[in-house]
């Protein structure tokens, strides 16, 4: 058969990067975490810094991130990943240090650590996965939940009069003098995933220049928490999340 000739090592164009381990991810089918992990891993792979990278895992769905990245990893207490990363980076300034955090971890319990690490301008990369819900604990309302969005703790939809407004923490940290590169991306479609990878690569390159904190938000889905199929959740995200959390660079280094 003609096709079988194509499957040979010299024709290989895409395979799972070796910066990801072979463990099967525990995430729900269609969850954006897997793609976000891999885009970060591919950025590390393409820069050839696997041996010099240290990651800090959060608490939340991605708590087991240390099983999936084949780099040195450290688990942090809930929300404290930027503080732990600060310590690691100060002791080992030549290493590339990143944190990988969800919205409950970064924008709720870890708000203080996030804002102060960004304000101090620590030379770390913060990857922030925003799906507007607490996925791991059963779909409760998060600080980033959209107005009117139904969750298990806002069953009639988020009412901003009593439950407050969603927190756009990415815009917030972009205002701080310590941040150098702040961008918002997504990984739901091929072009977006490739763009997110480029942003991560850029951020790791900036880290080498010691210019300040790089902050990448990935707007992602939560099929289980949103109670949708993966395809529906991506569509819902495009229609509802992106108007509120517009994709694109928020703070770019001056040329």
């Amino acid at each position: 058969m003609a096709e079988s000739n194509i499957i040979s090592p010299e024709n290989l164009v895409y395979e799972k990067t070796s910066v990801m381990t072979d463990r099967i991810l525990h995430y729900c089918p269609g969850c954006g975490h897997g793609t976000a992990h891999r885009m970060l891993a591919e950025a590390i792979d393409e820069l050839g810094i696997q041996g010099d990278t240290i990651g800090v895992a959060p608490v939340g769905c991605s708590v087991l991130a240390y099983y999936y990245f084949d780099v040195d990893m450290q688990e942090a207490a809930h929300g404290r990943a930027p503080a732990v990363a600060t310590g690691i980076k100060r002791m080992l300034p030549e290493r590339y240090v990143f944190t990988y955090q969800g919205d409950g971890d970064l924008a709720a319990i870890g708000t203080a650590e996030t804002i102060h690490a960004c304000n101090r301008g620590e030379n770390i990369l913060i990857v922030f996965i925003n799906n507007g819900i607490y996925g791991m604990t059963g779909g409760q309302m998060a600080p980033t939940t959209l107005p009117g969005m139904k969750t298990s703790t806002s069953p009639r939809g988020r009412d901003v009069a009593t439950m407050g407004n969603p927190l756009k923490i990415t815009e917030l940290v972009a205002e701080l003098p310590g941040t150098y590169f702040v961008t918002r991306q997504s990984v739901h479609a091929p072009a977006n995933a490739r763009k997110a990878k480029r942003a991560m690569k850029k951020a790791l390159e900036y880290q080498k220049l010691k210019k300040g904190t790089c902050f990448i938000e990935i707007v992602s889905n939560c099929p289980s928490g949103w109670k949708m199929t993966p395809a529906q959740s991506n569509k819902w995200m495009e229609e509802n999340m992106f108007p509120f959390y517009p994709l694109g660079d928020i703070k770019v280094p001056e040329q």
Binding site: A2, E3, S4, N5, I6, I7, S8, E10, N11, L12, V13, Y14, E15, K16, M20, I24, L25, Y27, C28, P29, G30, C31, G32, H33, G34, T35, R38, V187, H188, A189, P190, A193, R194, P223, T229, P230, A231, N234
Partner: protein
């Protein structure tokens, strides 16, 4: 003519989320009627229109797809 490609799908890792289906420009992928050992309908190749663009593999959250593409013929 577009270069031909092919995909190899690790069906045991596939969770049947269908995200690769919409990423494919040529509708090469579909879900099987059979299930893998975890009970998921897995992605399969249903035609030979693959051009090796790797879109499916890029968006696959579980990295189950490996993509091959024939080399460009030099003129």
């Amino acid at each position: 003519m577009a270069r031909k490609g092919d995909v190899v799908i690790n069906i045991e890792r596939c969770k049947g989320c269908e995200i690769c289906l919409s990423a494919c420009p040529n509708e090469v992928l579909a879900l099987s009627s059979e299930v893998n050992s975890k009970g998921y309908h897995y992605a399969i190749k249903v035609n030979s229109e693959c051009i090796g663009c790797a879109n499916c593999a890029v968006v696959c959250p579980d990295a189950v797809i490996t993509v091959y593409r024939e080399k460009a013929v030099k003129k």
